[in-house]
């Protein structure tokens, strides 16, 4: 069942400047993105900094107002919801942030932080809420006495557990995880990934998992979308994407990852240059300047995300994929 459907989402930010402070440019952060998230599954969104992956996450939760496009949740159009309806929707859609140092209010105790979702959504009496909070703490592997402590008393990994507890408090149907492990040490990262996967199996919610680390994304996701400069360039189930990447950027991304195996040393020659500015992306194919296979057609016609092979869930935005 499709839980969330995104159609041609665009998120453009105006840039103001000059003496008269007029709009001088536009950042094309997300430039026409379509995908869907199945109930209970994980959709991974991977790409380098500035590709628009976090912007998508925020636009879905309506923390940003999308420039155009349509977002539907359980077949209801939520693109322009306001007020109470928007608030009600958010009990079904929660978010886990990258930085567990900045996403918890330093002046609230953990008990206050975890009760807040219930207070905002008018659920339970104070004593019941406290019981729920204790259950949450236990579920994410935190001691019960944390309830009286403040965020600064915890390490990064523990704070991320608290962030997860807050996100699952209202039993949402979708959690947007925005780089939830990139600030953590390796030994802590695996604890958090395991916890997220366990919780999903137990509670059946869907994740949209945003990260720049393809090995992490591959580990947690059922489906993966690879983004480059505001667009999805390839989307497939995670095994296919890794075993049979078709877009030159996906291939370059995979071959750029240093693998923890000294017998598989690589010659990193895959990709030259840097990501162009999203204020001034190349017209048509955004990858054209860095692509080793670019042809004149790539600067004349925008490649659309289409099925190229026999697998109809594997779509790629390249004129010359498979060649």
């Amino acid at each position: 069942m499709t839980l969330l459907k995104v159609e041609d989402l665009k998120m453009h930010f105006p840039v103001y400047g000059g003496v008269l402070y007029r709009q001088v440019a536009t950042v094309f952060a997300v430039d026409g993105v379509s995908f869907s998230v199945e109930a209970g599954k994980t959709m991974g969104l991977v790409g380098e900094s500035g590709c628009g992956k976090s912007t998508i996450g925020r636009a879905l939760l309506r923390l940003y107002e999308p420039t155009s496009g349509r977002v539907s949740f359980e077949d209801k159009d939520i693109t322009h919801l306001k007020g109470r309806k928007l608030r009600d929707l958010r009990s079904d859609m929660q978010m886990i942030f990258q930085d567990p140092f900045e996403s918890l209010n330093p002046r609230h105790t953990i008990g206050d932080i975890l009760q807040e979702p219930y207070i905002i959504h008018h659920q339970g009496k104070p004593a019941e809420r406290r019981q729920e909070v204790l259950k949450l703490l236990d579920r994410v592997g935190m001691p019960a006495d944390s309830i009286h402590k403040y965020p600064h008393e915890f390490s990064g990994g523990q704070r991320q557990r608290i962030g997860i507890a807050r996100a699952i408090a209202l039993k949402p149907k979708l959690i947007i995880c925005d780089e939830p492990v990139s600030a953590l040490d390796v030994s802590i990262q695996s604890q958090i990934l395991n916890l997220l996967i366990e919780l999903q199996q137990e509670m059946g919610m869907a994740y949209m998992f945003i990260a720049h680390d393809l090995s992490v994304i591959k580990h947690v996701s059922d489906q993966i979308a690879v983004m480059y400069l505001g667009r999805i360039v390839e989307i497939a189930d995670s095994e296919t994407l890794y075993a049979n990447p078709q877009h030159p950027y996906t291939r370059a991304l995979i071959s750029s990852i240093p693998e923890p195996d000294p017998r598989k040393r690589k010659n990193f020659t895959a990709l030259k240059g840097e990501v162009p500015s999203p204020m001034n992306p190349p017209s048509h194919c955004h990858f054209v300047d860095r692509c080793p296979y670019s042809q004149p057609l790539c600067s004349e016609k925008t490649p659309l995300l289409t099925v190229k092979g026999t697998n109809e869930n594997h779509r790629v935005a390249c004129h010359f994929a498979l060649n």
Binding site: V186, I188, L253, P258, P262, E274
Partner: protein, 328 residues
């Protein structure tokens, strides 16, 4: 066998803080041979950056103090060297690059000044034109397009990858014998990281310098290093050549770390093995083995005595009372 150019012996460093004295490094000994890449790997707070800063005597003063040990660079003990002599070595014969190239470059000086300054300081015999030319050539070598134009720009006008290239250019200007790289690619995107790692590999081939590469990423270690030092809680817990370390890790921490990484070739949603608990802070180190509270194999002795770093005939060192039993 190439010669040993840097030897760190029994190094210990302490920080004087409001919460008391914290021993950040304890009993650190390793060698760097000419032309090789030594990796130092560990999680936050394990002392890997403090090791680098101690070698170059760049510890924050007055809090950081080297309390014992020697750092022998080509027969000279750097710890006891007069400050003037240390200036001639630092940035000249041993250079360093840092994780965050934005804070390491001075934001109010042009790129040209930051490069030229280094050369002028260590090569008083060169004139301005020569210095400028050498700087431009170095920028070209680290792969910066249009170096003449870049020389006139400020750090904020460059991307993260370009800034790191500038840092590398500054470090290599005086043809150092050792380059200390402290997490140089951690702040960069993976495709840019690949470019920088390749650049370091190529430059090392050209110049024959030794590299001490500090990182938390075992993938980067596997890609680049000849030998590896694994640190935990301010001590070296294992040291071996690269193949031995990945094939036959001996310390429970090293094993745990290697198993905890999600890998591309494993199937999705498999449960990752974890190391329970968290990385200890400098102030709550336990007596005995510092890994005891996270170790699956802890026994009474581990909580009382500090295990010594034992070495076998191949130079594989490990600091654990039980590694022999665990091997079988």
């Amino acid at each position: 066998m190439s010669e040993v150019i840097l030897e760190v012996k029994d190094l210990a460093t302490e920080f004087d803080t409001e919460q008391g004295v914290a021993r950040a490094l304890d009993d650190i000994s390793f060698e760097v041979k000419a032309g090789e890449t030594l990796g130092i790997v560990g999680e936050s707070g394990c002392g890997k950056s403090v090791t680098a800063l101690s070698i170059l005597r760049l510890l924050p003063k007055p809090a950081g103090n080297i309390v014992s040990g020697e750092v022998i660079f080509k027969g000279q003990d750097l710890i006891r060297l007069p400050a003037d002599d240390m200036h001639n070595i630092r940035g000249n014969r041993i250079a360093m690059i840092f994780q965050e190239p934005m804070t390491a470059l001075n934001p109010v000086y042009r790129i040209s000044r930051q490069l030229n300054e280094t050369l002028a300081l260590h090569n008083p015999e060169m004139n301005k034109a020569e210095i400028n030319e050498a700087s431009i050539n170095m920028l070209k070598r680290v792969g910066i397009p249009a170096p003449e134009r870049r020389m006139k720009e400020y750090p904020h006008q460059l991307s993260g990858g370009m800034r790191q290239r500038v840092m590398i250019a500054i470090a290599l200007l005086c043809k150092p014998e050792i380059l200390i790289a402290d997490e140089p690619t951690t702040a960069l995107d993976v495709t840019i990281q690949a470019q920088i790692l390749q650049l370091l590999k190529d430059l090392q081939k050209e110049t024959g310098m030794a590299i001490i590469f500090i990182t938390h990423d075992l993938g980067v270690i596997a890609e680049l290093c000849d030998r590896v030092v694994v640190m935990y809680g301010g001590r070296i817990i294992e040291q071996a050549d690269i193949l031995t370390l990945f094939d036959k890790p001996r310390h429970p921490y090293t094993r745990g770390l290697l198993n905890a990484i999600p890998r591309l070739d494993k199937s999705s949603k498999e449960v990752l093995s974890t190391i329970p608990g968290m990385v200890p802070s400098l102030f709550d180190f336990l007596p005995g083995c510092r890994f005891q509270n996270r170790c699956d194999y802890v026994q009474e002795q581990c909580t009382q005595d500090i295990p010594v770093l034992e070495s076998d005939s191949d130079g594989h060192q490990v600091r654990c009372f039980r590694f022999r039993e665990l091997l079988s």
